[in-house]
């Protein structure tokens, strides 16, 4: 149980295979990030939409009262 690499450079290079390993890891993490951000942004978009609709409804109710 020891770290296999003695320096940062060695860790990045991984005996010439670093480019393959780190590309895979970073692309996968990027996709994971997208999988979190997509639904979260859709969720808040809907919430905002509902709030706008509620405000609109409340205002039109007020206007209807004022017209009376």
């Amino acid at each position: 149980m020891a770290i296999q690499f003695s320096s940062w450079l060695e860790l990045i290079d991984m005996g010439g295979h670093g480019i393959f390993v780190w590309t895979t890891v970073s692309v996968s993490l990027l996709i994971f990030l997208i999988l979190v951000l997509l639904p979260v942004s859709a969720h808040s978009r809907t919430l905002k939409n509902v709030e706008l609709n509620m405000e609109f409804e409340a205002r039109s109710l007020q206007n209807a009262d004022a017209d009376k």
């Binding site: 393959f20 390993v21 590309t23 895979t24 692309v27 999988l35 979190v36 919430l47 709030e51």
Partner: protein
């Protein structure tokens, strides 16, 4: 008997959008914490501590992304198809929303599996892409996921789209056992399975342990993503209902206090 009875009740209650929305809201922070922790530990262990492979050197470390992603790509297809079947039989809208969520996440997992496999192919096979039985059947899986995603969205009548998507998903399940068996039926380039349930795995314990951590992390992340997608779907479809309006009113009040 009694236990399975209670389990069914839970399943039934989870098919209520409002109930699922409330429960998942409480579970999500824990799922987030647990999956991030497991993925971080698994990556650190797999990329830095596990010994390099005797033949492949350090490029074998791609296994810690490739194998868990492939697991979820295949298991996720069963989840999606089963949800579609439940939706077709019992007409529960939640099952169709689950199917839609699982299709997007499954497609992402399949893409990760194919992409990591292609990158891994370069140092170990000498090429990014081969029309090998395993690789080709995984590509078909990606197209099936994309097909289900497109089918769900292809109709003005969303119910019709969901039903057709479910049927396409069910037909596509025939591909999943073919993927599992492809490395045994056709002796092409892809190596046989590393992890086996019935016999001893062909991987050293020092390399296996971080792999198991990564698989657990991927499963938890999958559950997290399902919860997030399903909540967005629920809110979108239920935005006209009174419980969503109450939820928004309560949020507004909280913001007013802050």
């Amino acid at each position: 008997m009694i236990r399975s009875f209670f389990n069914l009740i839970w399943l039934y209650r989870l098919s209520s959008p409002k109930f699922f929305y409330r429960i998942s809201g409480r579970v999500i922070p824990w799922l987030f914490l647990a999956s991030i922790t497991l993925l971080a530990v698994g990556l650190f262990w797999g990329l830095l501590i596990a010994p390099p492979d005797a033949r492949q050197g350090h490029s074998f470390r791609i296994i810690y992304i490739h194998v868990p992603a492939s697991f979820l790509a295949l298991a996720g297809y069963y989840f999606m198809a089963a949800a579609g079947a439940v939706g077709l039989v019992w007409r529960t809208k939640m099952s169709f929303w689950f199917m839609k969520s699982a299709a997007s996440i499954g497609a992402a997992m399949t893409f990760i599996a194919l992409f990591s496999g292609a990158i891994w192919g370069r140092p170990s096979w000498g090429t990014y892409w081969v029309w090998d039985a395993r690789v080709t059947s995984m590509l078909i899986l990606l197209f099936l996921y994309l097909g289900v995603m497109a089918m769900i969205r292809a109709f003005d009548n969303s119910e019709l789209g969901q039903k057709n998507g479910a049927i396409l998903g069910l037909i596509g399940t025939v591909n999943v056992p073919i993927i599992y068996k492809s490395v045994d039926w056709w002796h092409t380039l892809h190596q046989p399975a590393t992890l086996k349930v019935t016999t001893e795995s062909s991987i050293h314990i020092d390399m296996l342990q971080p792999l198991l951590v990564m698989i657990a992390g991927f499963y938890l992340f999958y559950a997290l993503a399902i919860c997030l997608f399903l909540r967005a779907e629920i809110l979108y479809h239920e935005q006209g209902t009174s419980w969503v309006k109450e939820l928004c009113a309560r949020r507004k009040k909280v913001r007013g206090v802050l």
